[in-house]
């Protein structure tokens, strides 16, 4: 006897399951199948089981069950608390790109209108300059500058939300490297579960794809760090120590991600020891 979606069948005998589609979808979820010696079902057995009367009825019931099951599975996948954070991080990164691009363009445009204007030797940060353009710029230029400003404001809000949510979804990782960077790591890995399954060496170079593959393909040196470069311990470290800092940090992050996935709460005893280990590199040990 082999268990199928409609019941247990084999050797010309058949034991029907509850024929209600929802119950059948439930059954599909719980069935444990081993592939050793598995025999594909004969749909005629479903008739013998009394679950349907012909091929069309068979397919229509099977489809109904599979739709219920698939919709359930999609809901389960999305229910994870990391899915929305994923979208938020990606939106944030794309907004950064758009804002930079448009700011550059608006500044260039402004420069053409004011032949004597130059950005050289000015201390004004880009966003202040955009604000001035949005106040003074006539016509479309002013309007675009206003939009860039508003986008920047939305971006700031979003960044705060990402950071806040990351401390809930990734408490340990966030504690080590900050909410924003932790969220970026997770987004690059494709979610919390995939991140928790990555080896430390992969986390270390997450986000350095181009450099990594050019290393694998040619003889260029391997990348020392990817996204984790954004952590101050890495980019503030002297150049000859950066690789080491990145490696140790990635090692601790790999553990943190696993704690985040399997426990979901901050683990102070781990965090203290990890922080201490990371802090030690730049100082005494080197």
């Amino acid at each position: 006897m082999q268990s199928y979606w409609f019941g247990d069948a084999g050797d010309g005998r058949c034991q029907a399951a509850d024929g209600n589609p929802v119950a059948l979808a439930q059954r599909l979820e719980t069935l444990q199948t081993t592939m050793d010696g598995f025999i594909p079902l004969r749909w005629e057995d479903a008739i013998a089981c009394g679950i349907c009367s012909d091929r069309a009825g068979y397919l229509s019931l099977l489809r109904e069950v599979c739709f219920i099951r698939a919709e359930q599975r999609i809901r389960e996948e999305y229910a994870g608390k990391d899915t929305e954070l994923l979208q938020m991080v990606r939106t944030l990164d794309e907004m950064d790109e758009v804002i930079n691009l448009l700011s550059e363009r608006v500044a260039e445009w402004h420069q053409v209108r004011h032949p004597t204007f130059s950005r050289k030797y000015r201390r004004t940060p880009a966003h202040i300059q955009i604000r001035r353009i949005s106040e003074k710029g006539r016509g479309a230029l002013g309007k675009v500058a206003v939009q860039v400003e508003q986008l920047s404001a939305a971006r700031t809000d979003l960044a705060k939300e990402v950071s806040l949510r990351a401390t809930r979804v990734l408490p340990n990782t966030s504690a080590l490297i900050g909410g924003l960077v932790a969220a970026r790591l997770m987004a690059h890995a494709g979610g919390l579960l995939p991140l928790s399954r990555l080896p430390a060496s992969a986390i270390q170079v997450l986000g350095a794809r181009t450099a990594l593959f050019s290393h694998l393909r040619t003889k260029s040196p391997p990348p020392k760090h990817g996204i984790i470069f954004q952590h101050r311990r890495v980019h503030n470290a002297p150049k000859d120590l950066r690789g080491k800092v990145a490696r140790v940090l990635a090692g601790k992050l790999a553990i943190a991600a696993r704690l985040d996935y399997y426990r979901g709460v901050a683990v102070p005893e781990f965090l203290d020891r990890a922080q201490e280990r990371i802090d030690r590199i730049g100082g005494t040990e080197s």
């Binding site: 979606w5 592939m35 397919l59 599975r73």
Partner: protein, 205 residues
């Protein structure tokens, strides 16, 4: 396969993904679908109305919808939730698509709904495509056929596409499949190859 002039088409309800229509039939674009590319670049397997197909890596259901126009039933397996949402929408309007949200490398997840199929079609972006294919051969009828779309760049980026292509063919042959056609899908898809196999009628594991 149905061709109008030299344009590959399938007959069914249009508007699935904004495909062009030609004489009331849906144009099956080789640049969008790897299976269509196989019918242009090589021979492939003739799809017939009584066929049952197991389709691994169904994605958004674009190619699935064309296959469903030709055959009796398509068991469409897709793993990721985002494309699955689209696949469900396609399957809702075609009563011969059975949507399965499962991992193609773990056939036990969908084995309880599987009947024996005439054609096993695989188009997944996974490193071990050959292994996934071999695991799924259990669903194949004794005289069943296999089409494997090999994304050589997903298998191993360090090896040359030719190397990956050759090694995969060797592995399938070692398993007991008879390779009847193998072709690159250029100019339609870069670094993609199609391998068409036959299960030996004596029956393999």
């Amino acid at each position: 396969m149905i061709r109008i002039g030299d344009v590959l088409v399938s007959r069914g309800e249009g508007g699935v993904y904004g495909e062009r229509m030609l004489g009331g039939a849906r144009v099956w674009d080789p640049f969008r679908s790897k299976l269509a590319a196989l019918y242009y670049a090589g021979t492939g397997i003739e799809l017939a109305p009584e066929m049952k197909v197991l389709y691994l890596g169904a994605a958004n259901g674009t190619t699935v919808s064309h296959v469903a126009d030709y055959v009796e039933v398509v068991y469409a397996v897709e793993f990721a939730p985002r494309p699955m949402q689209d696949l469900l929408e396609v399957a809702r309007r075609r009563d011969n698509i059975v949507p399965l949200m499962a991992d193609a490398s773990r056939p036990e997840q969908y084995a309880p709904v599987m009947e024996a199929v005439d054609l096993l079609y695989q188009d997944v972006a996974q490193p071990d495509q050959a292994k996934i294919l071999i695991r799924n051969c259990v669903f194949l009828k004794p005289d069943g056929k296999v089409i494997l779309m090999l994304k050589t760049r997903s298998v191993d980026i360090r090896k040359s596409p030719d190397e990956v292509f050759r090694e995969t063919i060797e592995r399938l042959a070692a398993f007991g499949l008879e390779v009847i056609e193998s072709t690159w899908l250029s100019p339609y898809h870069k670094d993609h190859a199609a391998i068409v196999c036959k299960k030996h009628s004596k029956g393999v594991a």
